[in-house]
Symmetry: C2
DNA sequence: TTAATCATGTAACACGTTACATGATTGC
DNA sequence: GCAATCATGTAACGTGTTACATGATTAA
C-alpha cells in the first residue's frame, strides 16, 4: 500500500491539490514508484474515507475549480508507522520484476543478432538515464535550498545516488553481456 | 502480460503439469518475475482458452490426479512474437518499484539512527543475495549440462550475471549511504 | 508424529492500466 | 491557429495477493 504512503509523505510537506500531487509525484517519487493520474485521484478518495486527509473545494472563476488536500493527525500517524515498520519491504527490494530480463532468459529461441539488438537498445536507455542524473541532482539541490532543510535533501540525494549506481550497473552488465554474445559468434 | 509468456517459455522446453511449472518458475524466472501458485493456475486456464496450450488430465491412483499442459503451434507463435516485439519493455526495465526506496526518500521524518538501522538491514539482504549467487550459477551449469544446450544456458548465465551485478551495486550504494549518514552525525 | 511433497483449485479483494469526458486560458 | 497547462474524474478491464479447501503418501 505504498502509493498512499507516498502521497501522505508529499502532503506532509504541505497541502496540495490532486493535480499538484500528481506533478510532485512524477517529479520526485517516480524514480522508484509509478502511478497514473486517475489512480492518484482514486487513492485520495479512499484516503479521505480513512480519515488520513481532508479536502476543501476551492472555487475559481478563471480556471477550473480544484480540491485542496490536507493531511490529518491520523494521516501523520499512519505515515510515521509506515516509516518505522520495516513491513518486509526490504526483502521485496531484492526482487525486481522485468519483462526485459525474461526476454533475455528465453533469447536462446531467437537469433544472436536479434538478441544483440535488444541489448544494444537497453544500453542506449542506460546511457540516457545516466545523462539524466545531473538534472535530477540539480533539482534536488534547488528544492533543498528552497526548503532550507539539509537533512531532508540528504535523503533525496541518497535515493538519487541509488539511481545513479543502478544505471551504472546496468551499463556495466549490458556491456559484458554484449561481449559474451559477440565472443560466441 | 509477461507471466503468460514466461509460462509459454517454460512449456516450450517440454510439457509440464501446473505443479511442475510452478516449481520451475520459482527456480528460474523468480529472479525477475514473481507469481503465486494460484495465479499460475488461473493464467493456465486463460491460456488454454486462447488456444496457446492444451491440457490432458492424467489419472493417478497412488497420488492426486494431475493435468499435463502442452504448448500448441499458436502458443509457439505467440512466444516468438513476444520475444521479437520490444513492446516497450526496455523502457520499463529502467523503472524500478520499491517501497523501500520510498521509505529512504522520506527518512528525514525519522531519526538518523532508525534510518541507519533500515539501511543496515538492506545491507544484510545484499550480502545474503550475493552469497546465494554461486548456487544459482551451479544450478545453471547443471541444467545446461543435462540439456546439452550451450546456447540456451549462455542466456541464463547472462541473466544470473545481471543479478550479481545488481546485488553488488546495491551493496556499494548502501555502504555509501551509510557513510553519508554517519558523517552527518 | 510431524513436516514435506504431491496436486489442484475458488472467491474475494487490492492494486494498476486504458480509454474516455469536459472545457477554459495562456503562450508561441 | 495549435499546443500546453490547468483540473477533475468515471468505467471497464487486467493483474496480483490472500485466505481457504482437500487429502493421501513418504521421509525424519
Amino acid at each position: 500500500m505504498s502509493l498512499k504512503h507516498g502521497l501522505l509523505g508529499l502532503l506532509n510537506y504541505g497541502s496540495m491539490t490532486g493535480y499538484e500531487l500528481d506533478k510532485a509525484f512524477k517529479n520526485s517519487l517516480s524514480f522508484f514508484w509509478q502511478a497514473k493520474t486517475s489512480q492518484i485521484y482514486r487513492e485520495l478518495d479512499d484516503m479521505e474515507r480513512r480519515g488520513w486527509l481532508t479536502s476543501e473545494r476551492i472555487i475559481q472563476n478563471e480556471k477550473p475549480n480544484k480540491r485542496l488536500y490536507t493531511i490529518t493527525d491520523s494521516g501523520k500517524e499512519e505515515l510515521g508507522n509506515w516509516l518505522l515498520s520495516s513491513e518486509s519491504d526490504i526483502a521485496d527490494a531484492m526482487h525486481l520484476k522485468s519483462a526485459f530480463l525474461m526476454r533475455v532468459f528465453f533469447a536462446g529461441e531467437m537469433g544472436t543478432e536479434q538478441s544483440l539488438e535488444m541489448l544494444r537498445a537497453y544500453r542506449e536507455k542506460c546511457l540516457e538515464s545516466i545523462k539524466g542524473m545531473s538534472a535530477a541532482y540539480d533539482a534536488i539541490s534547488e528544492y533543498g535550498a528552497v526548503l532550507g532543510d539539509n537533512r531532508k535533501s540528504k535523503y533525496w540525494e541518497i535515493t538519487a545516488l541509488h539511481g545513479e549506481t543502478f544505471y551504472d550497473a546496468g551499463l556495466k552488465w549490458v556491456n559484458k553481456a554484449i561481449a559474451i554474445l559477440e565472443d560466441m559468434k
